[in-house]
């Protein structure tokens, strides 16, 4: 944010003192102003809604190649921000819709340009009056100010778009040892843990289906940052029960026991193997081998309590017993995942 302020200040100074004039620099400065304004808005309101810069379109032909490239980039950003993957049949379709919406928005802005210019001319005359009114007395309590500073820090990092969220989740899955694949190039034979994007179920579409050793065990629901994850939980529940006939053949258990909800920043996990399942926050996805060991344990002894259930029933000693038994079975202890599980 500081750098954006500096950029606007420096290029503005050049304009004042050297009468510097360049449309590309002006467009960049306006875009910087938009970013600063959005940052202020997010700082003051705590809002995390995604807003994209709507670049003014040039009226005549543009010879400046760099300017055209900038305009293309702003258009691409606008499309990315408008891409809404929820409830769409495919990503391509969602992107097409976003592109149409962005084009309509740009066309509407171009059509309203003359009207806007007239209004600008009227309002500019009011600026002296406005700046006289803008002198607020500084009456802010230190506590509120600290909260504001904290929010400003958070606001300098923009919320992820849905496409960025998917990228973040893909990255998290790979880091946990999963192979991320599209349905078309699904290979369940050569990999132990496979996360399949956009898995079509009987009751809708799951953002990711999780296969361990060829068996469908869970789903991941991706959500845009800022959405409340508790409603997603209900949705994941729906996905976890409504499978197609073929998926039921492949499923380890129905309903699918493992359900994740993730924004790419925050991830919640529900394990239906527990006697009283409830969602809890986890720092990442569990590794496929960890899930595989749960499956082995659960099959060997369906009544065996999970780590959490044992903890609730018998306290620390019972947990140690479960933990030891798991370590012996798995051959090597993965204590980190015992904590997360």
């Amino acid at each position: 944010m500081h750098r954006t302020f500096e950029d606007v200040r420096k290029v503005g100074n050049r304009a004042v003192h050297e009468h510097y004039a360049d449309s590309r620099a002006a467009l960049t400065a306006v875009r910087d102003c938009f970013s600063l304004g959005l940052w202020l808005h997010r700082t003051l309101t705590g809002e995390r809604e995604i807003r994209a810069f709507l670049a003014p379109e040039p009226t005549g032909d543009v010879a400046d190649g760099a300017l055209l490239k900038d305009l293309d980039r702003y258009r691409a950003d606008l499309v990315a921000a408008r891409t809404n993957l929820q409830g769409k049949t495919s990503r391509l379709h969602a992107e097409q819709e976003a592109r149409q919406a962005a084009e309509a928005q740009l066309a509407a802005a171009a059509a309203a340009r003359a009207e806007l210019a007239a209004l600008v001319a009227q309002v500019t005359a009011l600026e002296t009056d406005l700046s006289a009114r803008a002198q607020h007395p500084p009456t802010v309590a230190p506590r509120r100010r600290d909260a504001l500073v904290e929010r400003a820090r958070r606001a300098s990092k923009a919320p992820l778009t849905e496409l960025e969220t998917r990228e973040a989740i893909d990255e998290m899955l790979r880091a946990a040892g999963w192979v991320v694949a599209d349905v078309a190039d699904l290979d369940l034979v050569n990999h132990s843990g496979v996360a399949v994007r956009e898995l079509v179920l009987a009751s809708g579409r799951a953002d990711y289906g999780l296969y361990v050793d060829g068996t469908l065990v869970g789903v991941i629901e991706a959500k845009r940052e800022g959405t409340s994850l508790s409603t997603v939980e209900v949705q994941s529940d729906r996905y976890a029960t409504g499978l197609t006939a073929e998926q039921r053949m492949n499923a380890w258990r129905t309903p699918l026991p493992l359900r994740y909800e993730s924004t790419g920043v925050e991830t919640w996990f529900t394990n239906a193997l527990e006697d009283q399942p409830r969602a809890r926050q986890v720092f990442g996805f569990h590794r496929p081998e960890t899930v595989a060991s749960w499956m082995v344990q659960s099959q060997a002894d369906p009544g065996a309590p999970t780590y959490r259930a044992a903890y609730r029933a018998g306290g620390e000693r019972a947990v140690q017993a479960v933990s030891l038994r798991r370590d012996r079975r798995a051959g090597q202890g993965e204590s980190r995942h015992h904590v997360a599980a």
């Binding site: 306006v30 009011l126 803008a134 500084p138």
Partner: protein, 85 residues
Amino acid sequence: MQGDERLRALAQRSANFGFLLAHEPLLVSYGATAESCVYTDPNAALVKARQFGESLADALLSGWGWPGPGRGRSTSSARSMPREP
């Protein structure tokens, strides 16, 4: 006031700066003005953008109590903005 009406009309039509009306009306005016003359008068657009930056920094420092150098030093107020983490 009639001016407020015009300002509100401008804010409604400005996709990039309209949402700032509730925080500081001056920002809507500076931002929309800069935007409107990017191609016709880039120099004026740059000057307006600079005014936007200064006005935003000023508003933060005086109105919302941002910890900075204090009032009446608008040219240096941008320096007290948070740096990139």
